[in-house]
Symmetry: C2
Subunit: 344 residues, 2 copies
């Protein structure tokens, strides 16, 4: 299976995506293609040997071959005509905007490129934290209480301490914990810099958190181990940033089989059938022995490779079970019948 | 204001979109560009003078200039280099799949093309009828009771008569009214041909229905008249099809100012702020003097031109108030700081 790792994007998580792509290079032990989407949304083919963060921060990537995305794939200009870039499956590794908000899913689907990553609906449901709440409620998966505020609103009903998150970002960007009333307006202003709406949830000190990644291939789920992330109060951007470069397998959390089974069940409810084609990581809380969905990462940092024993095989199995787009017949029945009725 | 009308698409409503585009040609009295997306998702520039349905059903459109969609616009091959097609604003007129499911919104946004039409989130919220229910509930706008069934499920709780709709289609395709139990399995099979999930709602005989179209330009709403559609039990595909070619202004429904005001208020709740950039039509029911949202048409047939006194001006005003994409600075702060920390 030959992959094209697509990374970068016009996103607050652009740099994280570069780090994530470099991590994948070390983990997927095989020949890989790297396609970089720069902040101006131009695509470049980056040789694996040049995959170093400096290539991007220095702007040197602009010397590499420029690609055009169109029907059927990515194309490179050649002498007389264009050359199609040869790969089996694209891997959407653009974190945040462009990658997780549905744009790349739409582009790949529209242009008929097989890809690993969330489809449009799944992207939108997980990118917007309010929609995730609706979705979880429909599935019968608990989430913590919440309120949504819009730019200009500073009146919070949730009692302190609470956590403020821009409605549509990941990677802890713009997130604050407010412990005292006087911290509120600054924290809200920070969040409003990134989005016109914010989600506010009670902050639960010392809550147990469990991360579980996985995907579905045919009728079978492929699960990672369950990790209990070691953390301070919460992972700020710098910490999460380093987190995206993880490639060492971690130890499984010390939890009962019963809890593990319940986490698997919650994951399956969330995954099925919306997230088909994606390898996602669900972050859960356990409060008073009840499971709560904290968030869905439809494109987790470095694809959560460090949670899997055999990450390569998981990706290959998923790649063989990508959802197919429903082909719609266009046969002009109605136009023909109207033309006949009109005698034309 | 120079428009490029983009129509067609890989959609069950492909033909409807052609009819819709031809209708717009007569209504927007000015020079227009027409860009056809065929069922294979190739784009063609169609001269306005050739905009007849037969051009498409005959396949003759393939003789017209082929276009490539990429960063900044649509491009046409010319002798030495590509020529950018010149227009101010694209009008998304692809009904159903590709147009209303978020794909075109994603393409236009990604490639930086100003466009009239729903953005990605708005597309997904209105295309999936279950999400519309969640959305309306959040806004405090009533909708009728419902249940969702998935392919293979035939056990309906809603008592007869009820209406079955594929979860993600418009234009009454695959829709049935089930009056007796024995009609159920056939009706479900029909709907499952178009989608893996269906929405079931009680069918309310003789319910009053009101359609209201509009958009927001800056802080101002531009509303159409309220229409009470004349209909039989419901508009089947053939009727709706003809409906898409409407260009004659219709008479306003004979309703009280109070009801009109309440319909406007419900519309504003739904529109703001998700649908900015789009001209939408909301179809409401009034039951026991309560307003219910039936559906949101984010790209109504022929843009509901027949509901407006001065459709051209409405479009031009909207076109001047399109939402801007938030520009995200990518400055490589984090990569630079890590490189410094590493002493590289």
């Amino acid at each position: 299976m030959k992959y094209a790792i697509v990374f970068g994007g016009m996103s607050y998580e652009h740099e994280i995506s570069i780090v994530s792509a470099i991590a994948l290079k070390d983990v997927l032990k095989r020949e890989l293609l790297f396609i970089f989407c720069d902040a101006a949304r131009e695509f470049y083919l980056i040789p694996a040997s040049k995959m170093k963060s400096k290539l991007f921060s220095s702007g040197e990537y602009r010397k590499e071959a420029k690609l055009t995305l169109k029907n059927g794939g990515f194309y490179q200009k050649a002498l007389m005509k264009e050359k199609k870039i040869d790969f089996d499956v694209a891997v959407n590794l653009v974190h945040g905007g462009d990658g997780e908000d549905g744009k790349l899913a739409a582009l790949f689907t529209f242009f008929g490129i097989p890809f690993i990553g969330p489809r449009i609906e799944a992207s939108v449901l997980s990118f917007n934290k309010l929609y995730t709440k609706w979705y979880a409620a429909e599935l019968g998966v608990k989430t913590v209480a919440y309120e949504v505020l819009h730019k200009g609103e500073y009146n919070v009903s949730t009692p302190c301490p609470f956590i403020i998150k821009p409605l549509r970002l990941g990677s802890s960007i713009g997130v604050s914990i407010v412990k005292e009333e006087r911290e509120l307006s600054y924290a809200l202003d920070v969040a409003y810099e990134f989005d016109d709406a914010v989600l506010i949830e009670p902050f639960i000190e010392g809550v147990r958190e469990y991360n579980l990644a996985g995907c579905k291939a045919g009728d079978n789920y492929l699960f990672s181990i369950v990790e209990e992330p070691h953390k301070e109060e919460f992972l700020d951007f710098d910490k999460k940033y380093l987190d995206f470069s993880r490639t060492q397998q971690v130890l499984a959390a010390d939890i009962s089989d019963a809890l593990k089974k319940r986490l698997h069940e919650a994951f399956q409810k969330i995954y099925n059938t919306h997230f088909e084609g994606a390898l996602i990581r669900c972050d859960f809380f356990v409060i008073d022995d009840e499971i709560y969905l904290n968030e869905i990462n439809p494109i987790p940092g470095s694809y959560a490779n460090y949670l899997f024993e055999d990450f390569s095989t998981v990706m290959d199995t998923l790649a063989k079970h990508l959802p197919k787009e429903r082909k719609i017949p266009v046969d002009y029945t109605y136009i023909d019948s109207i033309q006949k009725a009109k005698g034309k």
